[in-house]
Structures are given as C-alpha cells and as structure tokens.
C-alpha cells in the first residue's frame, strides 16, 4: 500500500494540485483503489480506526497497520448545510458500519434523495472541500454499491 500523500491518485478524483485531508487514514492499492488504514493489536487482535497508538482493549503498544473492510452499511446520515469554511456545502455526512465492526465517519458521495438508512456502501475517494490556499481537499468517501 502507498500513502496517497506522496503520489498522484485516481486521476478522476485528484491531481498533483490536490491533497488529502488526513493522508494517514487512506492508502491506495496497486490499482489505485483506496483502502482505509486501521490498526490491529498484535496481542489481542482488537481493530482500531484511526490506527491506535495504544490498544484500547489491552494497552499494548504493538498495534500494526491493517487494511479495513471497504464495504459497509450506512448507520445514519445528515446533509450538512452549515459548516466551517473550507467544506463544500451542502455535503452528506454519515456513519458507515464496516463489515469488520469498525464505524467510520465519512462524506457520502451520493445525491441526498438517494440516501437511506442501512444502504450498502463502498469505499471511494472524492473531493470534499478547498483549503485556505485554494487547493482542493480529498478524502476517503463512500458511494452506493
């Protein structure tokens, strides 16, 4: 896996002039598909996202990077119309329950009228805002399956 902060990703979604909001959370596989980087405790196997520095189940510091599931269900969502500067409003925000029992907050890349509770979603990458220097911001997102 490669850290997207250091390379140009999916040409449809990014360019050398864009950057990830939190590059430590996302990696791209050989085909350029996004993967969420979580943590797995070497002692007790507990999974964390973002990768925990210390395991919240057993306090071990041996938490290795692990690739999380890239499909999940939409637990709930809201279309946000008022947000701090930088975010492109309106945007849909949702909690996605991944198949490995991790809950991830993400932008949901779908028209508001298509959103429904428990709908299946797949990991993607999308533009979510613009930083103070005018550079487009990317993040992991989810799209309907």
């Amino acid at each position: 896996m490669t850290n997207p902060g250091t390379l140009v990703v999916n040409p449809d979604a990014a360019s050398a002039d864009s950057r990830f909001v939190a590059p430590e959370l996302v990696a791209l596989d050989a085909k350029g598909a996004p993967r969420l980087i979580g943590g797995r405790c070497a002692k007790c196997s507990a999974v964390s996202f973002p990768r925990a520095a210390v395991c919240t189940e057993c306090l071990s510091e041996e938490v290795a990077e692990t690739e999380l599931a890239h499909e999940g269900k939409l637990y709930s969502f809201s279309v946000v119309h008022q947000a701090p500067r930088g975010w492109t409003v309106p945007y849909a925000l949702g909690y996605v329950d991944l198949s490995d029992d991790v809950r991830v907050l993400a932008h949901i890349d779908a028209p508001a009228e298509q959103l429904s509770i428990d709908m299946p979603l797949r990991l993607s990458v999308g533009a979510v805002g613009i930083d103070t220097a005018g550079v487009p911001l990317l993040s992991y997102t989810f799209t309907p399956v």
């Binding site: 909001v21 939190a22 709930s76 119309h81 008022q82 309106p90 925000l93 907050l105």
Partner: protein, 379 residues
Amino acid sequence: MRDVCVIGTGLVPFGKYPDKTLAEIGWPAVREAILESGVPPKQIDAVYCGTALGGMLAGQRVMKSLGVTGMSIINVENACSSSSSALAEAWTAVASGRHDVVVVVGVEKLTKFGGGTLPLEKEDWEVNQGMVMPALYAMRARRYMHEYGLTARQLGEVAVKAHDHGALNPNAQIRKRVTIEEVMASRPVADPFTLWHCCPTGDGAAAVIIASGDVARRHKTDPVRVTASEVTSGLYTNGYRDMTWAELTARGAKEAYEMAGVGPADVDVAEIHDAFTIAELMYYEAFGFCERGHAYELLASGATSLGGDICVNPSGGLLSRGHPVGATGAAQAVEIVRQLEGRAGAHQVEGARVGLAHATGGGIAGLDHGACSIHIFAR
C-alpha cells in the same frame, strides 16, 4: 458527607455581548449571587469557574473584577458540562467538609468566534472529516426517526414547546414563540434540522453559591438542598453504537437518582440539555420519564409543558434560553433553585419540590458525549 444547600443565585440574561470582555459578562452574575446570599465576601472559601472556550484564568478574571480574591480559584473545562462539572467539584468540596461556602460560576463568550457552528477540537479525526455538532445530533435524529417512525414535523414540536416557555422567561436569549410551520420553513442547517431545531450561540454567565447545611441555615430558612451531584464520561468504542439511546445520560441518571433517593416520578421540573430538538426527546427516555421510543407521545401529551406533570425546560432550555456552552450548567442550577423557591415568575412550575439539571456534551469521536453532569435539587 454533609448537607449541601444553595444560598445565592445570579444570572446574566443570555444574549450577544460582543463589546464586553469575558470578565465583564461574568462578574454581574457572581455579584448578584453574593448579594442574594448575604454572605460577606471574606467568607467565600473557594471559587469554581466553568468555561469551555473562555481561555486561561477565567475565574480569576471574573473575581478580580469584584475584588474578591485570595481564595482557591479553580477553572474547570468540560465542554457543555463545564460549569455543571464545576458545581460537582464545589459540591464535593462542601460535602466533604473541606469548604463551607463556595462560589460556582459559568461564563462564556461565543460571539468572539463570529457565529456559525461551535469551533471543535482539530485533533479529533471526525472533526477533520467535516463533523459539526448539528450533524452529530442530526444523525441521532435520522436513526431515531427510522427506528421509531418519528417525523421531522413531530421533532419540530420540541422547538415550538421550547419557545412557548422561553417567551415567558425574561432571561432567555430568544423570547419569541414560533409555529411548527416556521420551524419547518426555516433554513436548513443539517438535515433534518432547520435553524429552529438548533440552539443559538451566544454569551452569558450564571452563578450559584453553595454552602454546608449549617452555614446555609444561618442565612436562609428552608434552603434548597443539592441532593445528588455527579459527573460521568462517555464510554469509548471503535465500533457499533446505538445512537438512539443516550447511554451516558441514562447511566448518570441512574447514579443521580440513587444518590438523591428519588425516581423519575418524583421529579417536578427538569432542565435538560436540549442543544437540538432530538436531544430533548432522547433524554426523556434516558431519564425514565417515558419508555424507549415513546418520547414524542410524552411531549404531545403536554406532560413536559408548563402545567404538565414533569415540566421540562420551563426556562426555554438551550433552544430558547440559549447555550453559551460553559455557562449552561450554572444557568440550569439557577433556574431550578428559583423554581423550587417559587420565584420563577411567569414560567413558574407550580408547587415544584424536586428538580433536576442536566448538562452533557462535547463532540468527540468514539464517545456518546464527552461529559455528562447531573444534579438533583430538593426543598
């Protein structure tokens, strides 16, 4: 543990005071509480000041304005529970015998941020993905609506009730009734919330003076007692959480009821943390005022309105009285004490003997809420 009573209350009407400093907003509340108590300032053993965003030494800045200094001054930050947590620390100090007379003040100035949603901690990974407080509550609302068949219009009736109450409260930030049509037609903030589903931001301060029972009875006959005082934090999880159930508040409520030796049926008046409409309904259930999934029926029955069996947020609550974050817990305490003393005026809950105050909040990834503080008062 000793008896703890409230002997003075002070409140600055919540609103927008962009031209005042934090200290200028805060001192009138403390002054009013001191004068009301009749306690000479020299007898104040300690000050606990709650503020979330007021910066360093807020308590010292407020107290030096009054020239009342030299005692222990502790500043408490716990997001929306800041001054209720300050009250809990003060309660412990008095109950344990360490101090006899303690000032609790909550003060906040949100106008310095220029409006919009509350600035959240940038270290939080969810905040970095676009989380804002309205969205967090909106997601609770959306899931609750899905599971229990609640409609956005029914949810909006919480705001109508809040403003019916707030219109009667001279200290409320918004003193205006709204209709359900106005709630539905106002601008969207975070679907399903329109503007009227959300508490306003603003500035304000509130203060109470608490004392040991012995000292209190020298100054007052039949003072209001603080019969439960507790603070809890959310439980961290990485995975699934049932967002339709306010676990943190329910856990705190159970502890508080046990401490006070009362149950939900004994509560006459409650000030609960209705930062957004859905919050009030979820807290009806967490406090045991009704069964899970039945909060709207309780609201629609009128039981939680003025004149009902369990009046919730007679002050107008956060939605109408306002929510200068760190000042809210102290303002709730002031409201409940004045209710139990029968001096709440036009929004008086007749014959109230047992009251409850609840401040919870703080958007933080992985927790239901950061903090929750509950107090029960009785007379």
